[in-house]
Amino acid sequence: MAVQLLINIFIGVIWMFLSENYSFGSYVSGFIVGIGLIYLLNRYIPDEFYFLKVWAIIKLIFLFIKELILANFDVLKWIYKPKMNFRPGIIALPIDLKTNWEINLLANLITLTPGTLSVDISRDQRFIYIHAIDLPDTNETIHSIKETFEKAIIEVTR
């Protein structure tokens, strides 16, 4: 991954020097040419094609924006309801993520999407405790978080 990125940056610089046009635009076009070259020559360079990772990161960002907007209306609904008959609760979400970095990312994403708030992480780092503002079905809440965010994070980091 790091090697491929370095090669790609280097191709961008070479492209800039060959075209004798030292601007940001020519560097970007060289970088794009480099992505194509690395894709074609991927067999000779160690590791997987790194742009797949970048694509996974972009997908995670868009997934996050979608969830942020959709779920915001959920909280708005509770704020403007005259009767506050929601049922909050703290649930334990079992996680398959291993490193601190992944858990950190997941906890932050959970807090940023409305309806859920990460309260604590268990000692052995196997559970994230989530405060949900409305809990009609515990299993369904856990399932939806595991299906969307955890899957996308695993795609980025592994």
Partner: protein, 115 residues
């Protein structure tokens, strides 16, 4: 004078302000710390990013200025708001702030022995 860009900018600004206003209302109306934090952290993210996007578009189209600072502002709000929410709720739980009586389930209770 009422061009399309002005309408789009106004929509972003009004939506952002509306979300921030609703967040404040939620802080006042919700029953306990944890559900209030729901309202506080969310309005800080979506509302402020709406307002910042609106002002970014204003500088871009009206003054022909690409303002990277405004975009960086969105990134930093998105980075800091969840950390703040997480730390406040964790500190509240560890110092024993009670959950509201509407709460139906508390699985974190089993970890209380460690504190």
């Amino acid at each position: 004078m009422c061009s399309l860009t002005e309408i789009v900018i106004s929509i972003f600004l009004i939506l952002g302000t509306f979300v921030v206003f609703s967040g404040t209302l939620g802080v006042l109306r919700f029953p306990d710390v944890y559900s209030r934090l729901h309202a506080a952290t969310k309005s800080a993210t979506l509302g402020v990013s709406g307002i910042l996007i609106g002002s970014f578009l204003f500088f871009l189209f009206v003054q022909d200025l690409v303002s990277g600072k405004l975009l960086l502002g969105i990134v930093f709000v998105l980075l800091t708001a969840p950390v703040g929410g997480h730390m406040i709720s964790r500190a509240a739980y560890r110092s024993g702030v009670p959950l509201s009586e509407k709460t139906i389930q508390d699985e974190l209770n089993s970890e209380r022995d460690y504190y």
